[in-house]
Symmetry: C3
Subunit: 401 residues, 3 copies
């Protein structure tokens, strides 16, 4: 469709091997990467004794909190395949019961403990549905999603941002004590990869040009940043720990464009601003010193299926006592959520959904024409292709086995 | 998807041949069974001279009532394929005219009698669309749906419940005189087979546990019933008559569960209650002595296409004079329809629609894990596989011939 | 599905070769004919400096008007495939900028002039997206849609109605001076061919039988017209000019049916009325002397995709001075638009949408049963099959190249 591809397409301009071949597993990961920790719900969304269903990378999962602890179990009854979370029934503390015929499964092992309508059934004790490892940290319930036989699950910290030992001006890590953590999550109608790539894209400043947080705080928004040194993008490869990449924004490694003469456009805003972006497997953005210095924004783009992702926007700041927590709450409610998580990031959501049909129906992964600043995107794709723990198969293929 | 299948799946537990192989024609009958009588409309829904269109098992059919008699004819004009019922036009008593170009067909033979815009057309008298046999009984218009060349149609009674000769406490049959017959029908978003199987399922008491009719009448609801003798399920195989099966609920043939110790659940309600369920080809449930003794509920699950069925709920009681008819009407309006046909059966509709995506997209017919009380379901599937008069092809395949 | 096909189907009745084989390219033109002029917007719909996106035959096109002139350019950014018209950004008079990363293309040549976020990018000057020829005439913006390498585009007049040199009672041509041109366009949920064929169909009088314009003006509506001479339908084949066909309505060439005895129906209305219909490539209807003598109705059925078309209804009359223009405006507002373009043509829209599923899902192009008056339809199909400048490929196929 795109004559650009034929006349001066991205691939040919960057060498004789199409870049997409260099990260083929990433192209195939429409349903996400498996064997990884994903956020499922905020802790506050699952009250004591409540049951809720979520879908992550095609896995339908029911969560139940009992005596404070969260259990995650396959949200399809083995019998007739209905989702148990549609009409939650629980008769004991350690089971979940399907509302239809009363198949009752142990929350810890998934084993069929009884059938309400058939207490002596031969299937009891033999049939099993799967359960999922759960970690609840920092007010978020995480689930380890992937192959049941993949065990043990790596620690949650392996799928969170790396800790930089010698950081001059560090932000709090989400697993630290004495933090204030809040956020939102919402469904976005695009593949999860368009979410990740939009998140740390160094060239998409135009959609944030006139955002309220930028205008109200008079921040200096450059037009773009071009990596010019080998150090510009740092690969993160911790043994048994996080894998990802970090944009090392500084004047040695990047060229910053403050104007574009061809269209008469100059950077706007007077107050200089610094933020650092990194991205980690299985698809998690960290923006340090955003929306204000000392805070950090975490973003997960958890695949729902191959066309939609759950977009998590979480802010982490330090707060050691009640006064600091009240101040953090004030900032979150009056400033961070409306201006950063909503107004600013609404533009990112718009952009991801605008890309979807091109990548879904028009062979976008091959038809796109990447430019200089997309170096960061290509590095991410290669990192993701290399370090993932497996490509999630679609549900139908799992069933067909 | 379902680890239960791999660890202790239903199939292996019941012998070396997968049960689904034993009723393969049933698995293939996504569009229903053909060459059978299905309800199309209540008589009251088709006034004198009115035209209405229905879809049964993919057959689009126009009904017209003239001088009291109902005619059923293909609801696709041969010319450009529009549905004639979209804008009914009739110029004579014995024809129906397509609203677009005026192709006019004989109601009795389907032959093209004239074309409004082309009175001398060579096609006149040569082109023909098909007509369908119609029977109107007990306030219901039935149509014989299937192959045009299947003739003669068997009697309507062959596709209705069997008459039990020596029944100690019989209910009225829908074809009897002196009955009161009323009901509703509605579209359900599930395959028709999920309707049938839900209807007489002996293990789905949990969804009716707290229904208004159960609570208000203090009925004793057992938890489940397990067939324990060869006599538990009676195959109905009348020569030239109904084919189906009947649950012979009694203490010799069934074990009734009144409690489930594993989850501390006991049968509720004080008043004992008896009802008998049977099911007949092409997919018709009879519940005798329901919603109260002496009455019977008929349910048809008429396929619309492979994803939806028209759910018919019809009550039949005895009424020999005006006073009895007034009493029946009072019971129907104030009790039966709101508490039985609506509140109680709404739960069944919910369950069928909850199963649909598992059976449609997740290979449910093979991935399901049936349990002991599903013996009744398996017997029904085998009966249906054996006695049907043909599997309905989807419309596209019919066209492609 | 249609027993008519088997018993006396259209094909066999008209010779040993199925008619559909005689116009096979037409059957394949689900996405329309390419390399042709189509209307995109009324001039009044694109204000100075405005940007709007349209879709014609699967081509997504952005239009921008600057200093009065309209430019048409591919509405997919080469970079990440978003539609630029979603959030129009323009920084200079001769470019359009993608709102996402600032790819900025020359309106005249489609060449990438700069990238807002990457002013020194190697892609600049090398990548190109395509542009489309534009003609703005008679208050309508036309775009030449098809292969980029098809050049030069033929003159717009080649895709408009032919001018009849010796016409006794001519109407104004849309390219004439001193005309009054107004109309509407709307999306119709049918393939574009069902639009064309409905437009000049000589047998669809029944749907207009009781229309307001017919009843209010007491027009004489015959039941149908049958071509009886070789001169009935005139093929238009101008060298380098319009291709199409014209119904030569007159008593020598046509038999007009004023009654149909079989159903007791006679022509209604007292005032005789004359109109002439013709149709031209790529799919344009002309009805001369409609809705009143001296006026003409143009109708385009511009494919959007293979299931929808944009239906253009445009009236052309003569108006040489202000008084005549005021009179024309009065007639248009109070008479033509409500009674002709809306009430009358609403019935045509209904008919096209009623045909869609038959032609889309039921193999309608082969399963239809054409009759005598469909001679005109068959001639149109053959003309279209013979004279088109190419069959539009669907977008996916274009991408896959």
């Amino acid at each position: 469709m795109n004559s650009g591809d034929r006349t001066a397409g991205g691939g040919a301009a960057r060498g004789s091997i199409a870049p997409s071949r260099q990260y083929q597993p990433y192209i195939e990961a429409a349903w996400g990467f498996k064997n990884a920790w994903y956020p499922a719900l905020f802790s506050a969304e699952l009250a004591e004794n409540a049951v809720r269903g979520v879908t992550i990378a095609g896995h339908e999962i029911a969560l139940r909190r009992i005596k404070g602890r969260v259990h995650a179990i396959q949200d399809r009854c083995a019998h007739r395949g209905v989702r148990m979370s549609l009409r939650p029934r629980c008769f004991t503390d350690d089971t979940i019961t399907c509302w239809y015929h009363g198949f009752t499964y142990g929350l810890d092992d998934g084993v069929l403990k009884t059938i309400v309508a058939s207490p002596e059934d031969p299937l009891i004790g033999k049939v099993r549905i799967r359960t999922y490892p759960v970690e609840e940290r920092a007010g978020i319930i995480f689930i380890f999603v992937g192959d049941e036989e993949y065990a043990p699950a790596p620690p949650l910290a392996a799928d969170l941002p790396v800790r930089i030992a010698d950081d001059a001006n560090p932000v709090a890590h989400i697993l630290d004590d004495n933090t204030y953590v809040r956020g939102v999550h919402r469904r976005v109608e695009s593949n999860w990869r368009l979410g990740v790539e939009n998140g740390f894209d160094p060239g998409h400043l135009l959609i944030h040009w006139d955002n309220q947080i930028v205008a109200a705080t008079d921040r200096r928004m450059g037009l773009g940043a071009l990596p010019i040194s080998e150090d510009a993008i740092k690969i993160i490869d911790e043994p048994n720990g996080p894998k990802g990449m970090m944009n090392m924004y500084n004047l040695r490694a990047y060229k910053f464009f403050m104007e574009n003469a061809a269209i008469g456009m100059k950077a706007r805003g007077k107050k200089p601003y610094y933020a650092r972006t990194s991205v980690f497997l299985p698809g998690l953005l960290l923006v340090e010193h955003w929306p204000i210095p000392g805070w950090a924004q975490y973003e997960w783009y958890a695949p729902i299926d191959d066309k939609r992702h759950e977009y998590w926007e979480v802010l982490v700041g330090r707060a050691s006592n009640d006064a600091e927590r009240r101040e953090a709450e004030y900032l979150y409610d009056a400033f961070f959520e409306p201006l950063a998580l909503k107004d600013f990031n609404d533009n990112d959501v718009f952009a991801r959904e605008a890309m979807q049909d091109f990548y879904e129906s028009r062979d976008g992964w091959n038809a796109e024409t990447l430019c200089a600043f997309d170096e960061a995107t290509i590095v991410w794709r290669k990192v993701a292709a290399r370090f993932n723990r497996g490509i999630q198969e679609p549900p139908a293929r799992r069933t067909a086995r």
